[in-house]
């Protein structure tokens, strides 16, 4: 079979001592940097790019890919341990992962994240190997209208992230949407809400908002809280997954893998939706949706798997079409062109050893990550036994340096201080920041694609319902909305009924 031949070729490339070592180096560096909030894979790869010039192209790519998924993994660790999500997907992991950590179940959370990621990585790799070219053709069917519909679906799903009041969650999503609009409007080129500052011309960076609302605000609340409440963090539990944990986490991971893989293929930014949609799906399917946001293990397993699967499949448009679906992929394309390889449809036939070697190394990298991280869990948990009064200055310093390094800009650090205060106020008003962040991420994409679709259709809005894919997505979104509002309406009527009964 051709696939087997190809995989054999791939593993013969990936399993040379040199490539294994660079893969290991990449995953270790990636994990370590990923753990530092704000210093995502983008910064690390950009820094290491010059080093990779001297390597063989396949080895260079293996190193960079290792950093990429290593950093994804490291990012989840910080989200779980100290509620610091350094990237979009980690916001979801933080929701239940951090709550698990507060209940002394950090070990279980980290372990389920590791195993879920490994499973998803394996499936994702197989998918790339078997279907990459046909999947990439499918991805191109997604035009502006389809992306708009997808973003609408994502925004409605965002409501599910909140476990409190639905209407406040909607308000927070809108606040997020509006914050996302700050900066130069892509369609018209006009500056919006920049107050004349060129620092805001490119909008507000995600890391600034996330670190402020989650990281800094959490530190303020924690320091203010009574000593004993903070001790819970340090409780050392047994970190073995119980049968019950496994029974709940495994199906969630499988579903997450499926969702994440599909969304990761879309070059226009579908991957960010992976972890959110998985969380939503799990919460909807669960018999105990009220446990979500309070340390539900499915809420960690599903999104983590989705995230990692998406990270794998986002290589598909890059390798087969030469289209980057995110900043990291753009850097990798840069790395390839430096080695005089033009990523695109030709790579698979002109450089089969590079193509299949990279794919095989992805699986090797995922395996190395699990081997590396399972023992590390013990070390991370030890970190939680550090007294909070010693830990929080470190968190604040890490946030500052991380945010500063995004753009080498002091302005962003000041902005983070503002979002920290805002986050604290939100906590006091019981407004949850997670829906805001999703609105923030999806808002600009939604607006851009909406206006792009309208301009391509010469202002005819029927394009959203005449294109079948877009219609299906919008129908799903509408269905979801009805499902969400229906229980609220029913409850209100029930309440009204009871009240009238009492009267």
């Amino acid at each position: 079979m051709e696939l087997i031949d190809n995989l054999v070729l791939g593993f013969s490339v990936a399993l040379t001592i040199q490539n294994i070592l660079y893969c290991l180096l990449g995953t270790i560096l990636g994990t370590l940097v990923g753990v530092l909030p704000g210093l995502g894979p983008l910064a690390t790869i950009a820094m290491l790019l010059p080093i990779s010039f001297g390597l063989e192209p396949t080895t260079a790519l293996i190193l960079l890919a290792g950093i990429y998924y290593g950093a994804q993994y490291g990012g989840s660790t910080t989200a779980i341990l100290v509620n610091l999500p350094g990237e979009t997907s980690a916001v979801v992991t933080a929701l239940d992962g951090y709550q698990m950590a507060r209940q002394g179940r950090a070990g279980e959370a980290l372990m389920v994240a590791a195993l879920g990621s490994f499973f998803a990585g394996t499936v994702g790799t197989l998918l790339i190997a078997a279907f990459a070219p046909s999947l990439s053709e499918m991805a191109l069917r997604f035009g502006p209208a389809e992306y708009f519909a997808l973003m609408v679906l994502g925004l409605i799903a965002a409501v599910v992230l909140a476990h409190g009041s639905v209407i406040k969650a909607i308000a927070m999503i809108i606040v997020g949407l509006l914050l996302g609009l700050v900066g130069t409007d892509v369609t018209s080129g006009d500056a919006r809400f920049t107050f004349g500052s060129s620092h805001l011309a490119d909008g507000i960076d995600f890391v600034v908002v996330a670190m402020g609302l989650f990281g800094i605000a959490e530190v303020i609340s924690n320091v203010a809280g009574p000593e004993e409440e903070r001790k819970v963090l340090g409780k050392l539990g047994l970190w073995k997954l119980s049968k019950e944990d496994f029974r709940r986490a495994a199906p969630a991971a499988v579903r997450g893998t499926f969702l994440g893989s599909i969304l990761g293929i879309l070059p226009g930014g579908g991957a960010v939706l992976g972890s959110f949609s998985s969380y939503m799906l799990e919460k909807k399917l669960s018999r105990t949706p009220q446990a979500f946001g309070k340390g539900a293990i499915e809420g960690v397993a599903g999104p983590e798997a989705a995230n990692n699967a998406g990270a794998q499949t986002s290589f598909i448009p890059m390798l087969t079409l030469g289209l980057p679906s995110n900043g990291v992929m753009a850097l990798m394309i840069g790395a390839l062109t430096i080695h005089n390889i033009q990523p695109g449809p030709g790579v698979m036939s002109s450089n089969p050893s590079l193509f299949w070697g990279l794919i095989a190394s992805m699986w090797v990298g995922n395996l190395l990550l699990v081997i590396l991280n399972l023992p590390l869990i013990g070390v991370w948990i030890k970190l939680l036994t550090v007294r909070y009064r010693l830990l929080y200055p470190a968190i604040v310093v890490l946030c500052c340096i991380g945010v500063f390094s995004v753009n080498n800009s002091e302005f962003h650090v000041l902005l983070m201080a503002l979002f920290g205060v805002l986050g604290y106020v939100f906590t006091k008003l019981e407004c949850e920041p997670a829906p805001l962040l999703l609105g923030f991420v999806l808002g600009p994409m939604m607006e851009e694609n909406l206006r792009r679709a309208m301009s391509l259709a010469k202002g005819d809005p029927s394009v959203f319902v005449t294109r079948p894919l877009s219609l299906v997505l919008l129908l799903v979104a509408a269905g979801l909305l009805v499902m969400m509002l229906a229980p609220a309406v029913a409850r209100r009527r029930e309440q009204a009924f009871e009240e009238s009964h009492e009267a």
Binding site: L140, T184, G334, S455, L456
Partner: protein, 329 residues
Amino acid sequence: MSTFKRFTRSFIGAGLLAAGLVAPLMAAAETYPDKPIRMIVPTAPAGGNDFMARIIGQKLQERLGKPVVVENKTGAGGTIGTDFVAKAKPDGYTILFGYIATHGINPAMSKLPYDAVRDFAPITQVAEAQTVIVVNPSVPVNSLQELITLAKAKPGTLNYASAGKGTLPHIAGELFKQLTGTDIGYVHYKGSSPAATDTLAGHTQIMFGSLVTAISHIKAGKLKALAVTGSKRSPLLPDVPTVSEAGLQGFEVAQWYGLFAPANTPKAIIDKLNQETIEVLKNPEVATKFAEQGADVVTGSPADFGRLVEAEIARWSEVSKKANITADY
């Protein structure tokens, strides 16, 4: 004290003062560089600009004997990094890797915090990159003339993908419309990758894109190349005519790059940097690496480069005025 004495005294004083001011600068030029030089790249790490800047930086460092540190200060279409250099000390220790956006297009259409001509001392142009006119294979044309005919026959039905307002793919498209009198719509994207994606998928039909982005798709038959926009054919696409060969005059467009220092940097330092950079660019290894980014080495005197900047600003001002494009950063 007599007037004469007072005059002499102040004269000598002024002379001393002037000498005091000039001497360190002259001395600085002689010993330059005696500390690391920062080369600011106003665009993202690992992009084409960054890559070229790092090659030049590395080779300059070998020749000057002091580190040349490449720093990315990104934001607002290159404005943040450029403005940083405009306001830096004019001592030759902060220089800019500028390009057509920061010193050609942006000054032509936007109110900027810096003046592209008055705030800078040009050092030298370093490179030029070709642009290519591509269409989705579903568009039934095989030459530039056929495209113009089609656009005239069906006004308003074709769309070109722009990499964002005021980017070269956008403003080149506007120039094309003005020169050919055609009515083609535009759709803005955030950067050239998503623009290329939608042209590849056929959501948009035309793109005035960089050769390096388009080449693999052209070779794979996913995009049709109609013309390159330089004055001569590209060795990468020997069969594709230039725009003037294809019968369109006045459409020579190239993405150019060059080094700038803040205005008032001593001439001796500018000259030294000019000579050293030209030496670096003579290295065939550098030329090969540039070629991989789709760029050809182009050098000249500081004055040559200054003239290019002024000519480009004038040219794009006219195009954007006609097309009614302005933007603020």
